[in-house]
Symmetry: D2
Subunit: 309 residues, 4 copies
């Protein structure tokens, strides 16, 4: 396996939600409909158990149950499993179990407190000594993790650990970092972008291979990527901008995830929009605000390549 298996990891990989029942247990059955929703709106693969998948709220057993279900209904799409953990033992356990279930790769963000280049090299040496050849997405997300990785350090990581096939780049400004990573790395790895897709057109222009992000209208993320790779930049920008008001609204941390789940519920992608507690709960005012925004999005557009359902 290793890096080569991620060579064609381009296009939309949705950072998937985790469905819960209203009382907080995982709703495994809803994973089937949710997966179908993502795939029918352009996802070539899913990254499950990321920040947007509320990974940090699950026990390892729950995480594996969720992974197993997503894998069962993957239907040929790539499944990448977020396994980041302050506990290396837990990371290793979940990685081993997820790969045994048939996952394609794991995603790892170094844990808070891993601060120097030397510490980062050591951390990943310890990781890969334990998870071997597992194909890996390196997540660069300092706003969330507190860990910053410079382009030269990322190059050292990629040079040293052939398991790293994809960088999920969500340091800000991502555009300049993508430019620098392409200078350092050429095409040796894929670069997918996060940050809810908020800078997607510019990131693609800088050399990103696609979005690895969550959004309640994934057809925008896949559509922008497809139009961009087809060379139709004006249409790519038009499509992006039509959804930008909602996109920006969802880009508000965990509350944004609550918004996203509610919109997806309204679109039929989820039965229940509840986050696992503790977490934000939407008020009536919040829901009216969403309704207004979706109404504007549906009626007031200049480009209609992609119908919103």
């Amino acid at each position: 396996m290793s890096r080569s298996s991620l060579k064609d990891c381009t296009g939309l990989h949705v950072v998937a939600q985790t469905p819960f029942h209203a009382e907080g247990t995982v709703d495994l059955d809803s994973i089937d409909t949710l997966s179908a929703f993502y795939y029918s709106h352009g996802a070539r693969g899913l990254t499950i158990l990321g920040v947007s998948g509320e990974q940090a709220k699950l026990t390892p057993q729950e995480a594996i149950a969720v992974a197993r279900r997503f894998i069962r209904v993957a239907d040929g799409h790539r499944i990448i499993v977020g396994v980041s953990s302050p506990s290396l033992a837990q990371l290793v356990t979940v990685t081993r179990d997820a790969m045994a279930e048939g996952a394609d790769a794991v995603m790892i963000c170094p844990p808070r407190g891993t601060q120097t280049d030397e510490d980062l090299m050591r951390y990943f040496a310890a990781v890969f000594a334990r998870i071997g050849e597992t194909p890996t997405v390196l997540q660069d997300f300092p706003m969330h993790s507190g860990v910053r990785m410079s382009p030269p350090l990322i190059r050292r990581l990629v040079d040293t650990f052939p398991q790293i096939g994809v960088i999920k780049e969500e340091d800000l400004p991502s555009v300049t970092k993508i430019t620098r990573l392409r200078d350092e790395l050429g095409d040796r790895v894929r670069i997918l972008t996060g940050n809810n897709g908020l800078y997607l057109p510019q990131e693609l222009a800088r050399g990103a291979d696609g979005p690895m992000a969550g959004f309640s209208f994934p057809e925008m993320l896949s559509g922008v990527h497809d139009l961009f790779t087809a060379g139709d930049l004006p249409a790519a920008h038009d499509l992006f901008e039509r959804y930008l008001p909602l996109l920006r609204y969802e880009a508000q941390g965990e509350w944004g995830i609550a918004i996203r789940k509610e919109v997806m519920r309204q679109r039929g992608a989820l039965r229940c929009s509840a986050l696992r507690m503790p977490g934000p709960v939407l008020s009536a005012v919040d829901k009216r605000e969403i309704a207004t925004m979706i109404e504007r999005q549906n009626t007031d557009f200049r480009f209609d390549a992609g119908s919103a359902d």
Copy 2:
């Protein structure tokens, strides 16, 4: 003075840039043209020496020189001076000097490490014991400061310290926090919103009194506020969304400030777009990206109430 003098602090208060010469010294003369630019695009006042004003890079002497110049050309507009500092002595010195020069108010964000409600009450007790009746904007900006203040704590601060006349609200999600602050505080204080104006229409709908933010097209910020208060919500949203692609692009920390200064240079508002070093420097690729974005903004719109100069 005190709170009452900030009673009419509504509408656009631009968080002003600080102009530098290419080699890094403060360009005092450019403050005149910059101020004129802000006022001609709808600013009722300015907040100088905020984060976007690169305050943390100035010495206290430079800060006062900057404040003096902005005040000299204020021409009846309100000047609020950012005085936050890890050093209370420095905060007090700059406050005293700025008020002596004729500033209308100061803005204070509690320093990193002020973590409990008790610590926050004590911090502001120490502050106001020294700066007396100075009208004050309380800045709630946890992403920048690391300090979180709950609505009940903000209420205690407002109840205890009548100097606080305005909350600059930029915790996220700002919309829910504004709703809660209005519940706690009613109309006793003004609430202005930051975060580069990225959530402005929703924040106004939740009860904010206007934007206290920086953007290279301040006519959008004032225009959205004016249309909103005039009750023309669709036009307010249209105006906002036309500028949203650039607005979101500028909302990228210090690099976004570099973008903003470059756009403002192109608009004639600044002679030189340099930030004081150390800080980001724009590449040719970055500048082409800006040009593309502005071109789209100028040609591809549905609402043309405000010409882009």
Copy 3:
């Protein structure tokens, strides 16, 4: 159960090590000899799976296996299980399983990012809604967790949640905080002290009920407590000071835990001194340094109430 069951939680409660085999698996058998060592040196109870127990490196299954073994050989001593986790689900699972195994109480430190008094009240409301009447030690350890709790907030927590029977106080300066907590709380809760026991005599003088700390010579911790409660302060200080050079040496974060395990191995309390990786590994120089320190401790003392085995 609840608070009342912790009423007599005084005296030494050792924060126990977790024994590992050299290759990193948990060494359950060694828990028996380790427990015997602690109890024969004055421990009235153990706090297992704390920071010194390398809790964050275990999977929940491993944690429960460790807890089960410590409980099996508790021999009438109190077993408190550290269950802190960024994941409430994991905290709840481990709490439920540990209590089912026969644990006496759990210890909880609020997770990083729980920053305002309001957030802290909400966090513990969510916790206790799920773990019910479980007797609980509240750990106040801001250097580790980043969470600060003021004495008035701790009082509100104790007033609201009768499950909290003990405060493990390791904010610095702990002495002034203990004085304030006693003012706020009287004798309604027990206060045990951490920070490796580095301030133990002064903390007892301020009203602490005993140490809840780890040290390779637990007989010092129990001895100081016993001499202090017997009113023999000079002897308590003498005993403390004899061990202070090593005590201070062990008070160096995770490296100090490696030191402690090595000393305990030399004393026969552990078969293997390895920490679970990633973690510090002692060099030959480090081990010579320890040897020198122990030699001085054994030969050069003024008070010999407790033999060092």
Copy 4:
């Protein structure tokens, strides 16, 4: 100047207190008696305006006034001026002014947020581009600054910037870091140790050149260094351990500085023990605790080479 001028920077360099009047203004006159106290107790030089000197509470003008006075009464001793600041402009201004007044060197700790090796190299490139040949002490104090520097990175800094003549090493465990720095750097730089001197004997054994620390009994710090360099290790340890109870007590952040100032007041080294506000204020209980500790220290010792005044 540059590195070579710090070649003989060995032995005790006290991190000096800043004297304040009770109402909070700087007490310049007391600097004379304080300096005399330090020099008569073995200080070869002083590091002024460090953390223990409450540097962050002073305005730049106050800082320069303090530096001028310490320099005026230096009487042939080395004066190193702490100039760390989040503002590079302020760092440069204070450096320039302090060196013009006759300071021997400056001490710089990189500012919070300087997180990758690349960022650190850039930061110091920006610093030295502005302060030129100024001899510099690099402060490695992650617990305070949040910035971690690995030994290889420190080597790169020393290789690149010949201004760096001394490392003030106070990362923990300092002993292993000193061993690694000596491996990386040989004798090219001096290594002085901080952390209140809490690990001094072991640090000297690892290759440190002396203490750069604050303690109310500086004769212990100089005495341990002198005995150690004279080869009398048992006496060095005896002297250290006699003062260890108080040393550990003073090692409690800003509250510890308040303790230190009070002890120094009692010893006649300071007229007033007040810290600049906001800061801790000692209670009657605190002062009794100090008195008890000093009494034990004075009466109950095995080694009396140094009288306690």
